[in-house]
Structure formats: C-alpha cells, structure tokens
Symmetry: C2
Amino acid sequence: MSAPAEAVELNGVNVTQLTDTVGAIQGDPSIAQFRFRARTRWEGGGKSTTEIQGFHGANAEDTSRTEPFVLTGDEPPVLLGGNAGPNAVEAVLHALTSCLTVGFVYNAAAKGIAVRSLDFEIEGELDLHGFLGLSEDVRPGYDRIRIRYRVDADASDDEIEELCHYVQRTSPVLDIVRNPVKVTLARVH
Amino acid sequence: MSAPAEAVELNGVNVTQLTDTVGAIQGDPSIAQFRFRARTRWEGGGKSTTEIQGFHGANAEDTSRTEPFVLTGDEPPVLLGGNAGPNAVEAVLHALTSCLTVGFVYNAAAKGIAVRSLDFEIEGELDLHGFLGLSEDVRPGYDRIRIRYRVDADASDDEIEELCHYVQRTSPVLDIVRNPVKVTLARVH
C-alpha cells in the first residue's frame, strides 16, 4: 500500500484541490452552479448591517461557516452618516480588488508562478448629481475606476502581463462591474 | 437675536443638511465630484485585506475617519480558502443592498416618509465555468441577482412603489451592477 500523494501547494493555494475541482466540474457541470446570499438590515440613518454565511455550491448547501460574517455600511458625515463603516461604493472597490487578488494568485498557482507580494490601489470617480436626482445626464454610479497594482513574482514582465489579461477575462467582480447584470427587486410583506 | 433653527431629522437623517447639500451643489456643481479609494493587500492563499479611509469630496480631502476601515476577503474551503472573510462576489451583494438601504432611507426622509424598518434578502447566481476558464460562453460574474425587501413605513403601497422606482434610478451601486463601468488596470513598479 503506497502513501497518499501529498497535496501540491503554491502561494498558499492547494493546487491539487484546484486541479481536482476543475476535473470534477468537467465531469459534472452542475458542480459549478453557485448561489451566494446576504441579508441586510437598516440600523438607522445611513447605517446598515449585512450578514453573510451560507451559500449553495457544488450541489450542496455550504456549512463551513459556523457564524455569519457581519459587515457594516454607513456614510461619512459629509454624506449625512456616522462613519460606522465604509459606504456602499467603497465596498464595491474592496469587492473588485479582493476579486482580482484571488484571480491573480489562484491562476499564478495553476501556472506554477510563485507570488511573493501583490497589492492594489483603486480609485473611483463619482458625481453626486446622479444619486441626488439633480441631473438626468449624470449616472449615479462610478464614471470610471482606475486600478494600479504591484506584484513581485517569479515571472517575466510578459508572463505577468499575460496573467493580468487572463485574470481580467475571468474575474467575476470585474465582469459584474464592466458588464450589465440583470437585477430584480421585489417587495415582500 | 433669534435662536438658530433646529435641524429637522427623520429616519436618523438630518434633512436640513440634506437640503443644504442639494442647494450647495446647485450653486457649485464641483462640490458633487467625489473620488473614493481603497488599498488591498494579498495575505496568502485567497485572503486579502482592504483598507478604506480617506476620499476626496466637496472640494476637500475628507479627514473625518481617524483610522481606516479594514475589510477581509477570503474564500470558503470549497473554493480553496480559509473562510477568513466573505468572498468578493458576496461583498458585491453587501455593497448593493447597503446602497439601496441608503437610497430608500434618505429619499424617504426627503419626502417626509417615516421608515420604521427596512431589510433585504439578496441572492446571486454564478457559474464557475467562467472564472475557471472552462467555457467562453459563460460569464465569470453573476448571471442574475434577485433582491427581496421588506419595509414598514408611513406610506401607501403606491408611495413605496414610487419610492422604489426612484431609488432604482438613482442608486450608485445598482447603476454600477446593471450598467457598464470603465475600469483600467495598470502595473506599477
């Protein structure tokens, strides 16, 4: 009886599990269907709390989180809030760069590229005329978002550029921000 | 000498400041230009931390936050992470419903509608074939997002419906998710 093969890890990513996951999805595409969820409750003024815990994926309800993550949203005083947390458009910036982080690191691991450090600076420009209903010509959301990243990795500049292009093609949140997503709202009683 | 007029507050929102802000922007549109920022650092595996503190708005650098907000992103074990925080597409859900919360409550206050409670359930469907590069036909991000909300307020069903339509037209994050945003990435050394 031979010992089980040891899992290959790179960048803190279990590459064996990554390869196994891809193989499993190729065998059964339904494994790839995920439904993520959150609940948000208004706390007064601009403040809200969001609880995130379960989700559906890999044909099962995930039970790995024993407690919900609790995120607080609020506005700064200049936007009539109490600074209990970052506001919603700031949360979008976090979502986008945390997604790009996972994309870079997982895909680098899959390609055998060791990453030593990776960080992002992100900035979004927003004109309040849209949110305040003062102009039909100004969109409520970001007019544009600029991201700068620094990476130190065992790869040539060309390899990093190729990786960055691949990450941009496959990043879930970058896709959500760059391209339209259908969103439906319904009131329940 | 008369006493200063007391600020009108509704739903925890300073309606006087809201009206004053709208008036100030109508007098000087540059006040409405905001630039929000974040910094994200990879922490190993799927984990990252984002710091959010300063931003530019109302023609000044905001200094109201004495410390940065720190958000942690990570993946659950089924997605090769350690559950140190919600993942990036879950953070999008929080951003969206926290934005709708502010939109509902601020606009209700502006219309004189008292809100007693407001909460949201949000769910997004995502097919991992896109992120994993297994299909060109599957988008990496959410295929669709469904939101259900409950509101208890001093308003008729028609007034709530009208408010909901207005909020959807003016919500920054709903606009970001529903419509394309230009995003640029640049590597710096």
